[in-house]
Symmetry: C2
Amino acid sequence: MSRAETRQKVFAAAIDLIAEQGYSATTVDAIAERAGVAKGTVFYNFGSKEALFSALLEHRIGYLAQALRDSAVGATALDALDAVVLGQLRFFEEYGALARVLLAEMWRTAWQEAIVQLREQALGVYADVLRRAVAEGQIREDLDIDTAATAVFGMVLTVAIERQALYPDRPVSEVHATLADLLHGRISR
Amino acid sequence: MSRAETRQKVFAAAIDLIAEQGYSATTVDAIAERAGVAKGTVFYNFGSKEALFSALLEHRIGYLAQALRDSAVGATALDALDAVVLGQLRFFEEYGALARVLLAEMWRTAWQEAIVQLREQALGVYADVLRRAVAEGQIREDLDIDTAATAVFGMVLTVAIERQALYPDRPVSEVHATLADLLHGRISR
DNA sequence: ACTTTTGTACTGACTGGTCAGTTCTAAAGA
DNA sequence: TCTTTAGAACTGACCAGTCAGTACAAAAGT
């Protein structure tokens, strides 16, 4: 088995367990067991529990950012905004455990590097789309773009987790429609 | 010192430490030390670390729900919605540690009772306001009210934490204005 | 062909420390 | 008197990290 395969197996086991129990409640023994690997292998590959989690976060955040970038297309900037929201919902439908880990650990000072990466790369996609909307004249110039980007990201993250936890059978498209309505002010009509 | 006072001191110490480090990384010894209380006192008052945290969550969620209910006033339902958002921002300005704990532990199955309470009481205020808006004809009848309530709550929660962590000097009113713009669709104009 | 060496990936028992929870005595308050 | 708190010593389970050793393959030496 190649080193890369081992690392992927450990990542998969770790993200599931940490999503369920949180970082410090999750033991390296449990991660190793779920990954089908000896405990020593985890330390051989990552050096420490903390380094394992850092590497895991950075890897998955890179994935998320890529998925959002790939979604950010549309005739108008507001179409692109909808598309990014849908892309985020779809991503977390597949990687639901990451959503819970992000929510729980996103503001912990321990993982600063990963958080910076999240803000620059993932939130950056929202900020770019909002800036494009300003350039196209679809959005007021004085909107606080960083706050708005965080707001939309947090909104989608929360709803994605709620859907996964409470209504796993509801189609993503329905949830997306509700969020699009909220964002476009189509509620008040 | 009365028992109630002791409990409040322990609550205050616990919420701060748990917000910083997470539940399982926080030791009872540390809580007792920060509270200026003997370790035995914590167990005398709460019985266990878990019971302490349950009581803490329920107490604070009750507070939050009360604050939201008190805010939910306005000539129109949409005014009331804005007011609740502002109320939530203000509450988390004062109880910022709770915001981070809620975000981190909200979807953990371990604290089901508290989570049910949060959904019924706090999210319920948003749902009520949205239902009132439907009754007043300000909102489309087919909007998914539960999802929308969760979305707004999660949005405000995320932004409140970001503000506290990154821009503590920014006035709440500015953040509120941005969120109100988003919710009323005043972005596209 | 054959042995020996080198490097890489992995193993799992073991260690040293940590922490929730207990148990005691003594004291302070109401 | 009855309740509450302080403080300290203790237990036993649990856990991150270590380390000596295994397995195996690909050079390197002869």
